[in-house]
């Protein structure tokens, strides 16, 4: 088993012609971390992953793995392994030969590489399918073979490019558990690129939210969700109302005064599930109108319009909502507790 090692990105930059895809990012991923690079398409997360993998060479900056600078090493010499978006299994090779591929490239004898590949297939519980071609497997099975193929080189870091996007929603949740479980057992770092905040929050020890080639926030999932560092993070991670403040402090963007507003901040974020919605006339600072009601099972999402502010949303527990339901068009009073308000500069 390879030694787990820290990854460090130092002022890492990638330019394609005049376009800067990754703009001088710095990040440290401690050994044995499940790290998710999260962001919208075009935010530079895939370029970052490919620079760590060695499939792109950084325009500037360095990639360190442990004590070694691997910025310009070829992919196979780095101690990283990559699992590709659509798995990129070789269609002409059986599962066993797919897994044994990198051993074959190193000149390992046929008997030995088959033995080691078979052992790796056993680890991902695919022994029964060893002789099948990739086209004869389901998406989840293909993913397991792709994992086995990537792990057979004993990498210190496994890089996963949107590994779950090719799967249907049910399978996605199951394979996500398997990924996390595997990472825990192996004790190495996984770096996982995704545009799904659910996936990142469910899996990651370290969530790295990226936008326009920069890191907006790198923290635990809880930290990112409860203390989004920027309005972008608060909006992208979802479940937040981002409310602009008036210059000078003490007032919301629409001029309504509220106690305990942070003085220097330009925005506050309030989690949608912390919003208080009541009948008009209640002692709450804002008045608004219900725009939409969406029943989500355990919760009900209520879309709200308030004069002078961007649309807001509130997520109420099912029982609380139906104890006193509102309908689109109804007027409501709105507010939140001071401690649920999070300042964003």
């Amino acid at each position: 088993m390879a030694k787990a090692a820290d990854i460090e990105l130092v002022a890492l930059t990638k330019r394609y012609g005049t376009v800067t895809a990754v703009d001088g990012i710095a990040l440290r991923i401690p050994a044995g971390t499940y790290c998710c690079l999260l962001g919208p398409s075009g935010c530079g997360k895939t370029s970052t992953l490919r620079m760590i993998a060695g499939h792109e060479i950084a325009s500037e900056g360095d990639v360190l793995l442990g004590a070694e600078n691997i910025t310009e090493l070829p992919p196979a010499k780095r101690g990283t392994a990559m699992m590709f978006q659509s798995y990129a299994l070789f269609p002409h090779l059986s599962c066993l030969d797919n897994v044994a591929f990198s051993l074959k490239m190193r000149g390992v004898s046929k008997a030995e590489r088959r033995m080691r590949a078979a052992a790796m297939l056993e680890r991902v519980e695919m022994t029964a399918y060893a002789d099948r071609l990739p086209a004869q497997l389901s998406g989840g099975q293909q993913q397991r073979v792709a994992l086995a193929r990537a792990l057979i080189t004993d990498p210190a870091v496994l890089l996963l490019d949107e590994p779950l996007s090719a799967l249907d929603p049910f399978l996605r949740v199951r394979m996500r558990e398997e990924l996390k479980d595997l990472q825990t057992r192996l004790g190495i770092s996984f770096v996982h690129v995704t545009h799904s905040q659910d996936e990142a929050m469910a899996l990651a020890d370290l969530v790295v939210v990226m936008n326009k080639g920069r890191i907006e926030q790198a923290a635990t999932a809880r930290e990112v969700f409860n203390h989004p560092a920027t309005t972008f993070v608060a909006r992208f991670i979802g479940g937040h109302n981002v409310i602009a403040l008036a210059a000078g402090g003490g007032r919301l963007g629409n001029g309504v005064a509220m106690p305990a507003l942070p003085g220097a901040a330009r925005h506050v974020a309030v989690r949608a599930d912390k919003m208080i919605v009541a009948k008009p006339g209640a002692a709450l600072p804002l008045n608004g109108t219900v725009r939409s009601v969406e029943y989500l099972g355990a919760t009900v999402a209520v879309g709200l319009a308030v004069d002078g502010l961007d649309p807001l949303s509130a997520v109420l527990p099912e029982a609380a909502f139906f104890a006193d339901p509102v309908h689109p068009g109804d007027g409501v009073a709105l507010g939140w507790k001071a401690e649920d308000m999070h300042a964003i500069t």
Binding site: G54, H55, A88, F90, S102, R106
Partner: protein, 282 residues
């Protein structure tokens, strides 16, 4: 029942065309190959003499050997040229527009007829042709090179010139369908460029290689014009044998030879298909 009839009806145009232009002519040739003939006409009969004469003549064996040799050498050169060109177009030209443009460049030789393309070699390769004059002018040689024209070299040169594109097109077609992520995955697994070629590109381009091989081999095996023009009558091919027989009005002998050639080519193609199941890989 209507389904059954409409199905048959839909299949009938193709069946009719195949029957009329493939099965009937081949059937006729098979029948004629058993006819008897004298110096001016042939008469319906059922004799094996055409086949006996064919198989007992050492010229037949020599000619078949010569034709197979042409086919093998042409195939090998076309494969190397075709694979290289297709690889360059598919993997080293990034923009699809440029790919199409270069692809059109490859087809330029096909804008004129076969015969003109072959004849145009004559002033270039001839005893006093451009190439010999240039080489002598540079002082590289003192005597003109005789083997350039009217030789087996010239025949194979013309074949490669005429048919290399038959190899380029199907191989290119197979190669552009290779997912680029597979190449990256191979590099990620530590494959060198050569190992990528050997372990990923060639196996996945195999259907194209096979289709190209079948085209080239089938065309060369049946050719007579190129051999006649480019060898200056010094080499023979099976096709040329048949043309000669026909010019002597020995149609049954030519027909017997055609039947044998057809069987030989079919066997060769069957052997190639055993190596790669094209239906499976398409």
């Amino acid at each position: 029942m209507t389904n059954r009839w409409s199905g048959l009806l839909l299949a009938s145009p193709l069946a009719l065309i195949l029957a009329l232009f493939l099965i009937v002519p081949i059937g006729t040739i098979v029948v004629v190959s058993f006819f008897d003939y004298d110096s001016v006409r042939m008469f319906p009969a059922f004799v094996w003499t055409n086949y006996e004469e064919l198989f007992l003549s050492p010229i037949t064996w020599k000619t078949y050997f010569q034709t197979l040799q042409f086919a093998a050498i042409t195939w090998a050169i076309c494969l190397i040229v075709g694979f290289t060109v297709a690889y360059f177009l598919a993997f080293h030209i990034a923009s699809p527009l440029m790919q199409t443009a270069l692809f059109l460049v490859c087809t330029i030789p096909f804008w004129t007829s076969n015969v003109i393309r072959m004849i145009s070699w004559i002033p270039f390769l001839g005893r006093n042709g451009l190439l010999n004059q240039a080489l002598m002018g540079m002082g590289a040689i003192n005597e003109p090179l005789e083997f350039l024209l009217f030789s087996n070299f010239a025949v194979i040169l013309a074949y490669v010139h005429l048919y290399a594109l038959f190899m380029v097109v199907p191989i290119f077609n197979s190669m552009v369908r290779i997912d680029r992520a597979l190449i990256e995955a191979a590099r990620d697994a530590g494959a060198t460029e050569w190992q990528v070629l050997r372990n990923v590109v060639i196996p996945l381009a195999r259907p194209g290689i096979m289709i190209g091989s079948i085209l080239v081999v089938a065309v060369v095996m049946g050719d007579f014009v190129t051999v006649r023009l480019m060898s200056g009558g010094q080499s023979a091919s099976v096709g040329l044998m048949m043309v000669n027989a026909m010019s002597l009005l020995q149609y049954p002998a030519a027909a017997a030879n055609a039947v044998v050639l057809l069987i030989v080519v079919l066997l060769m193609i069957a052997a190639m298909l055993r190596i790669v199941d094209i239906r499976k890989e398409l």
